[in-house]
Symmetry: C2
Subunit: 173 residues, 2 copies
């Protein structure tokens, strides 16, 4: 899943411990409104990322507080993140979550990568719109055509939105 990658993205900005990362996903935060991540899952992902070598932990002891495990991105983790960020998503349904997460991470510290991401995504949706238009025109079954038209409308809407997103990214550069 893509959830692991946002953790990599957040850790790229600065090393942090689990409890601190969990705050980022509280109900009323920007990330929290896109994705819900319970602390138990967060710690599970951090463990997984550590075992994969994408993240490394150092223990920070505190007076009168439980010790913290501070996580930082490794070189392998940074490579993994870069590859993920550059790649647009294939399936339309992944725009709502995975693409938004990529954009969220890319936007604020890699504007050129964000721009490339949006362009790549635009091309994918454009090709899908073309393909679906052709299929819908040929389709004789009413219900199947309805289904194709739904997907068509969805992807047209996404093209509109991606154009806006592109402006947003280029204007903040």
């Amino acid at each position: 899943m893509s959830t692991e990658y946002i953790l990599l993205g957040l850790l790229k900005r600065e090393p942090r411990h689990g409890y601190d990362l969990a705050r980022e996903f509280a109900a009323d935060t920007t990330l929290g409104e896109i994705i819900h991540l319970e602390p138990s899952m967060l710690y599970a992902y951090l463990k997984k990322l550590e075992q994969a070598g994408f993240v490394r932990a150092t223990i920070q002891t505190q007076a009168s507080r439980p010790p913290r495990r501070i996580f930082e991105l490794t070189e392998a983790g940074a490579d993994e993140l870069r590859a993920w960020l550059a790649e647009p998503v294939e399936r339309t349904r992944d725009l709502r979550l995975e693409f938004l997460l990529k954009l969220y991470i890319a936007r604020d510290d890699e504007p050129n990568i964000a721009a490339g991401l949006i362009s790549g995504q635009y091309d994918i949706s454009q090709r899908l719109v073309d393909s679906l238009s052709r299929q819908a025109a040929d389709e004789t079954d009413d219900f199947r055509r309805l289904v194709l038209e739904m997907r068509l409308e969805q992807n047209r809407a996404l093209l509109n939105w991606l154009a806006k997103a592109r402006q947003d990214v280029t204007s903040t550069t």
Copy 2:
């Protein structure tokens, strides 16, 4: 999940056995393109529906073939199906799957229910569009506004599509 309900919907047309129902979900069929249902899951659902009392099975023995279990809808199952069909979905993401399935079942034998379903769904999307428009106008954070605008575009597209779907249903009546 909504998968159980399509089984009820298919069984409403005529009693059938599991293997026969499985054909409906093959890769190149109308239903198969919307939802993927492996035979193992299909049998599991049928078992669940039987235990819930929505479906009842009679065994049909055959010469030189394994016996079939023919499933038919019970009164309780018919009630359950009716209630599900009449109810539009709340979340936008459920349009792609659950709403399409409701429409698929309602369309061919209950056109008035299908029309009501579409109207109800239209109202929900309309209210969402209004609410999102207001939120987006007030939102100062660029990224949050982008997220709201994505949802806005998606729901506007759905309104367009629902209008088409309404015409389709009323024209085939």
